[in-house]
Point group: C2
Chain length 325, copies 2
């Protein structure tokens, strides 16, 4: 094994507990059978919980509510028309203060589609996607240092105390959502500059390293999430510096300290998968110290791209009724 | 992006075709509903195809064949007893030349269990596990070089022309199955020495990097497979040298040449996931050159650890009848 591997990693079964926590919906949600498919243009793009369905049923010109599905009115012909109707409903619900997540209205939209490579069917404010179980995409940069005496060290950020979501929690050095009009690599560069003052010279060493996929659920909503992961080895004398006031502070941790930090409740649950994946790819969490290693790796890459397409054996016609009827 | 990224990678959708090929059962098998659950001690550990079921039904003292399941006789009380009965059936079937895979009898056993961390329920010859859809575990070492002018280069092996399976095909530098009594790291060291003459000094740099999981099917049988993946950076002047006559030759390829090689039919299909994962983790296949990147990553980590436990809503009692009856 490489020499950087720490010898006294805390109990490894804790990683599996963490993987169950950030996959709370993937592992338990489907069994409950509480959610309805959200259908746009004949395909499932999300899931809606009962509390949301009862509110959506107040907008019968926009949503057709069936026993097992909520269908966006198929009379809306294209991306723009669908987006506009959804936007007006969401703004109305926001004004009525129906859902806590809409308090964090962002004026920044995410694309809605079944699979990442599909043409988007509509866009909606990023604060609202969790009400519809829309898959979110984001970008994360693992900033790390190969320290001459401490071995592998990892830069973490503490989120600003005034952030709408997860205020004050520890997080990856750089992370940001993939909003409408931005490519993966453009988002990585933009967030790297804004959140940590990564210059063009440093960003030249940015290395794409895969994705993580998981499906989290909280009181706020449903969060199927795929993060595009980048590694960035940084010089020993570099210190990240925030420009957008979204960061409280940065800290450089050893691998062992990072392990301990992500196992505390002070770490943003939905940022743990990126760190766990990093610790696995860099030989810190291994089959020798984690007996359920294959299971842990699989729970970092749950099949979100086929989650909605496989779930219906039925195909939905555009008027919202199953074709099999 | 890092400077080693090749600029003219061949059409990236070919990687997805490859992922569909090595996941032929995962993507298509369950829909066919042709296979029966293989049950040992009340839990599903595999799947059996119709052609195998009809032969197993000739051994009614060993297997109870029901419409939807094949149950190993619950009268066999422990690991040793189960293993001995299965072994005698398999040797009989081998002598009768019923299945091509048994021609490659190895006198080397794999453990049988539902999940990797579970206590094994029995062992069986590795040539037979594909008849029962038992999950195989293996170890792979990606040997690579950071070449001063060519960038990232990867050592591949050509398999011996006399091997029972995939003779003459191109393969990872080092790969081997996890047989009874060997740990992951011990197998990595053993195979590294036997297949490529990796010395202790070189193996010190061995770095655990994760797993890949996929579910392949061929005429020979069903192959759910999880490979423990290791990376090993090698000195420029090192050349692997085979000691066990299982290798025809080794070749050092650039990243581009490796991409082209795995896309040919000359590469062992079930070794491609490890290489594709390596090319993703090292920034060669990226979201910029592979539009269906999240899907590709997910197909390298399909949920095998929960594949059999999730598939039955029914629980099987030890006499082989569903508890719900």
């Amino acid at each position: 094994m490489n020499n950087n591997t720490p010898t006294n990693i805390p109990t490894m079964s804790k990683f599996l507990k963490l993987a169950h926590k950030f996959n709370s919906f993937y592992l338990n949600g489907p069994k409950r059978k509480e959610c309805c498919a959200f259908i746009v243009d004949g395909v499932q793009v999300g899931l809606v919980r009962a509390a949301v369905i009862s509110e959506l049923s107040r907008y019968p010109n926009v949503f057709i509510v069936n026993p097992n599905s909520v269908i966006l009115n198929p009379a809306f012909r294209d991306y723009e028309e669908r987006s506009a109707h959804i936007d007006s409903v969401l703004r109305d619900m926001k004004d009525k203060q129906l859902f806590v997540t809409l308090k964090g209205w962002r004026d920044e939209c995410y694309e809605v589609r079944t699979m990442f490579a599909d043409q988007p069917l509509l866009k909606m404010d990023r604060s609202a996607t969790c009400l519809f179980g829309i898959c979110n995409y984001g970008v994360d940069i693992n900033g790390y240092v190969n320290h001459p005496s401490k071995g592998l060290c990892i830069w973490l950020q503490q989120r600003s105390l005034t952030k709408q979501t997860w205020p004050g929690k520890w997080d990856n050095m750089v992370a940001g959502g993939l909003s409408v009009g931005n490519s993966v690599i453009k988002t990585a560069h933009k967030e790297g500059e804004e959140e940590a003052s990564l210059t063009g010279d440093l960003l030249k060493n940015l290395k794409s390293a895969g994705t993580v996929s998981f499906f989290y659920e909280s009181e706020r909503g449903l969060f199927p999430d795929t993060e595009f992961v980048f590694d960035l080895e940084l010089p020993l004398d570099f210190t990240p510096c925030n420009q957008d006031n979204e960061v409280e502070k940065f800290e450089l941790l050893t691998a062992n300290e990072t392990v301990n930090r992500i196992l505390t409740p002070d770490f943003k649950t939905t940022s743990c998968p990126v760190i766990v994946d990093f610790l696995i790819r860099h030989g810190i969490i291994t089959p020798e110290n984690e007996p359920r290693f294959p299971e842990l790796v699989e729970l970092l890459h749950v099949p979100l791209q086929s989650f909605y397409t496989n779930r219906n054996d039925e195909k939905y016609s555009k008027n919202g009724l199953p074709d099999t009827l």
